[in-house]
Symmetry: C2
Amino acid sequence: MEILKERILQDGKCFEGGILKVDSFINHQMDPMLMYQIAEEFVTRFKNENINKIVTIEASGIAPAILVGYAMQLPVVFVKKKQPKTMENMLTTTVHSFTKDRDYTVCISNNFLTSDDRVLFIDDFLANGNAAMGMIDLINQAGATLSGMGFIIEKAFQEGGKILRDKDIHVESLAIIEDLSNCEIKIR
Amino acid sequence: MEILKERILQDGKCFEGGILKVDSFINHQMDPMLMYQIAEEFVTRFKNENINKIVTIEASGIAPAILVGYAMQLPVVFVKKKQPKTMENMLTTTVHSFTKDRDYTVCISNNFLTSDDRVLFIDDFLANGNAAMGMIDLINQAGATLSGMGFIIEKAFQEGGKILRDKDIHVESLAIIEDLSNCEIKIR
């Protein structure tokens, strides 16, 4: 997705340790016009999949997910990082965040993820694939079907993309970062 | 907003202690088509305010905020509940959550909230007004201007709405819950 790649090269910032900061347009401040184009690109790439629900994990995935849901006219569910007091019947799994260096339990109500669901998972980043693996666990617990996984940015030098594609999952990443060495963004 | 009120009466669930659960269409599973209508209603109600930025707090505010931002063609910033490793210059404040019964520190980069900003704050619920008061503190720290605060649902039997309106803030709530006694939803 050319416009996204150009924006990453223009406004993305690179830090030691393979960190790419896109917080001026993706995951702190957000550009809704770019985000809508991102959503339309996901719709095109997954148009042949039989999807009836969009699922994401709070917080950075919610903006692209709601726009994909709006464009596809499908319900969107976000997996929660804290268990609400009023959630009774839920599925949980543990996700390790390398960025934040901790494990956290995430949950989804089993009213909103069931064996009838054919899920498109949307998130901002694919790096080690931990959030994605947590999502796969929740989908398996629910007996739902995973129809595809869409990421705005994939870090090709981390293993998440390979792990997911080796499972024959339909993965689409709109910008693939080849390398961030020497604080230089190399993108394909 | 009639369609929202009807949906709350149809799909909202009431629990002991004044809890209204709208997690099948607002804040866990989300209905993007309703959410877009909500965004359009906010645009109409705040059309005479001189706004250049939409701000919300993660996570449930992000979906309505990105749609308001898209409809108004303005950038959207979400205040974060965890401080990212790579955020250097930021403003922080403490918010007490009655729902989750704990204090948490929220933060926003001072690159994305400045004295040039005229902010429309968007959130899903207005109850005690704690998140809103935290937002006002961040806006004051930044020297920004608060142009309005829009909430999908206000609980009129809690004090947040009165506190904000007493400060002469332009507050708009799309559905106002009068009472939840005896687990019955009374809405105006």
